[in-house]
């Protein structure tokens, strides 16, 4: 399959619009904001469905448990904040009140990864995949484009249980997925080749698609597996990718520890021992900078990703 690139839609704008549609169609769905709605675009609900919008203020721990209490009475709350505050600041509340009770709460981590409008390390979320996939009852989704975000949100709405969705603020990702429906736990093969498997998730899949063009020019045959669900993980698709190729790389806008790279390496070490090269943020804190500079510094531009793969394969 060759990836076709569609129009650019902002993930956060689609997030706001889709959630407004859901709240309009179902009065049991409510939204909770941690005073960031104008950034995350949860503000769309305040504007279009004000009775479904609850402002919880700058108090994330309370917000998480309020959502759990609402869910226990039958509502379906969607809680939205910056990914770093939504996960780290409330972790015990997420464990005890959401995950242990299996509350039907949807957690929306906006501004995940490095691209947070130049706000620096306090606002970067590079550990949320690790934190959230660690929770036994949690489902974790990181869509790759706006179209997939829309489809994933519909799947989240129809799923009964806690779900975390990791969204990027980047606004230059064109739609490369075309599916109208989303199956939780299913990976998508974007390229089928035999030399190198690149396994990606979320915002990095588009960077990988661009890297693939560079790599093809170097004569490599690429296998690209996009994993928009990190838990439950599509083990079969990962093993298949490893079996069909000679090298496995993972790419994520996250620490290489605890995220996609760890998940793939852990799985393959037991099921099909393979060397896994993890591309992502190393053991260090990030800093402020423009999107392009940050991706470059952490080796996540198409040029850096392809360069890393070439140096490994042709070395």
């Amino acid at each position: 399959m060759t990836t076709t690139i569609g129009k650019v839609e902002s993930m956060r704008s689609v997030f706001g619009k889709k959630l407004a549609e859901i709240t309009q169609s179902d009065s049991m769905v409510v939204t909770l904001d941690g005073d960031l709605g104008n950034s995350t675009r949860l503000a769309t609900i305040e504007k279009e469905v004000p009775e479904a919008f609850y402002q919880m203020g700058i108090a994330e721990q309370n917000m998480i448990c309020v959502a759990a209490g609402m869910a226990s009475v039958g509502l379906q709350p969607w809680v939205c904040s910056f990914a770093t505050f939504l996960t780290k600041r409330t972790y015990d509340q997420l464990v005890v009140s959401i995950d242990q009770t299996m509350a039907n709460v949807k957690l929306c981590g906006a501004y995940s990864g490095l691209l947070t409008s130049n706000t620096g390390k306090t606002h970067h979320s590079l550990d949320d995949i690790g934190l959230m996939t660690m929770l036994p009852n949690m489902t974790v989704i990181a869509p790759g484009d706006a179209n997939e975000t829309r489809a994933a949100m519909e799947a989240m709405y129809n799923y009964n249980g806690p779900v975390y969705i990791r969204l990027t603020r980047a606004e230059d990702i064109p739609n490369f997925t075309t599916d109208q429906s989303f199956t939780i736990g299913q990976g998508k093969v974007l390229e089928e080749g035999t030399d190198v498997a690149i396994i990606t998730t979320g915002s990095m899949t588009y960077q990988v698609i661009k890297a693939v063009k560079i790599l093809k020019n170097k004569g490599l045959s690429l296998y690209v597996l996009h994993l928009p669900t990190l838990k439950p993980i599509d083990s079969e698709a990962i093993i298949k990718a490893a079996k069909q190729t000679n090298y496995v790389f993972t790419v994520e806008e996250h620490y290489i520890r605890g995220g996609l790279g760890s998940i793939v390496a852990e799985l393959l070490s037991e099921e099909y021992p393979t060397t896994v090269i993890r591309i992502g943020v190393q053991n260090e804190y990030s800093e402020c900078g423009k999107n392009e500079s940050l991706l470059d510094k952490h080796g996540l531009t198409p040029e850096k990703i392809s360069g890393r793969i070439i140096s490994k394969v042709y070395n």
Binding site: V30, Y54, M56, G57, A59, Q61, N62, M63, I64, C65, V66, A67, A68, G69, M70, A71, S72, V73, G74, L75, P77, D92, Q93, V95, V96, S97, Q100, T101, M102
Partner: protein, 301 residues
């Protein structure tokens, strides 16, 4: 048939001591301080049906100070939610009666707790949901004074006031002690060197200052408790309610009262016998008083 709340509460205290003694694990101090509050709620105040625990219109209850779970379990058993024999499974592997309340195991629990400071927020969520869904149930949340050191309590307090949750009724089990706490100054030091204090001061002013309607009662006096609960329920004035209940940790067993060590300690044979003797004598003395004057009527359960 009507029962006296004091009799029920004393029976619940016996059940708590009995269970912790038999299992040689669990908490005692907090469960004994909150017993009368639970008795007032389950045997008089709350609209609940033990035969239909999932009834959608039922009042909701959250024991935010989840380490007092044994007190709730004994209360639920006395109320008829499950057989009292099940109390002996408390804390065992596979039990529905987990050390801290678990709604996924015991369906008659409205929420799971155990990590302090979270239950009031969940209560805020239930109260908002009730208003949104036009339901008339009330949400009752019991918190501890030690628990109120958690900042999240005060996050919840703000939002409850913001959303005019007059269908949310909190009860502060203010027993003045916690698991370990602080040493007291020389001037405050009583003869008993084991006394340590929780720092909760001016609770009433704090809750008032956050815009809640407050009541202050002796948490072991049923007339006061019932009267405050009734006012809290009927004052539809847009204000969330907090009943500050002054209680005694370890209430009902002389050597456990006001002793922080009894937060979680298991009685020896001798201590168990003495505790049960004391609780039985409360039952006896109350029965003799009852012959003279019966003043507290309880709804049939």
């Amino acid at each position: 048939m009507s029962k006296q709340l004091i009799t029920i509460a004393t029976e619940i205290r016996k059940g708590i001591v009995e269970t912790v003694y038999r299992k040689q694990q669990g908490h005692l101090g907090g469960p004994l301080s909150v017993t009368d509050i639970l008795t007032a709620l389950y045997f008089h105040e709350m609209k609940v049906d033990p035969k239909n625990p999932g009834w959608e219109e039922r009042d909701r209850f959250i024991l935010s100070k989840g380490h007092s779970g044994i007190a709730q379990y004994v209360t639920l058993a006395k109320k008829g939610y499950f057989p009292e024999e099940e109390l002996l499974t408390f804390d065992d592997l596979g039990t529905r009666l987990q050390a801290h309340p678990d709604m996924t195991k015991l369906p008659c629990l409205d929420f799971s707790t155990g990590s302090l400071g979270q239950g009031l927020s969940a209560g805020v969520g239930m109260a908002i949901a009730a208003k949104r869904l036009d339901k008339n149930f009330y949400t009752y949340v019991v918190i501890g004074d030690g628990e109120s050191q958690e900042g999240q309590i005060w996050e919840a307090v703000n939002i409850a006031q913001k959303y005019n949750l007059d269908n949310l009724i909190g009860i502060l089990d203010l027993n003045g002690l916690q698991q370990f706490g602080w040493t007291v100054s020389d001037e405050e030091q009583s003869e008993d060197k084991r006394v340590r204090r929780a720092p909760e001061q001016r609770a009433l002013e704090k809750w008032q200052g956050f815009g809640w309607q407050t009541f202050e009662v002796d948490g072991h006096n049923f007339n006061q408790l019932l009267s405050a609960l009734q006012s809290a329920r009927t004052d539809k004035n847009g204000l969330p309610k907090m009943i500050i209940a002054h209680t005694v940790k370890g209430k009902g067993v002389s050597f456990m009262e006001n002793q922080y060590e009894w937060h979680s300690k298991s009685p020896t044979n001798k201590e168990y016998e003495q505790a049960m003797d004391e609780l039985n004598s409360i039952l006896l003395s109350f029965k003799s008083k009852q012959r003279q004057n019966t003043s507290i009527e309880v709804k049939p359960s």
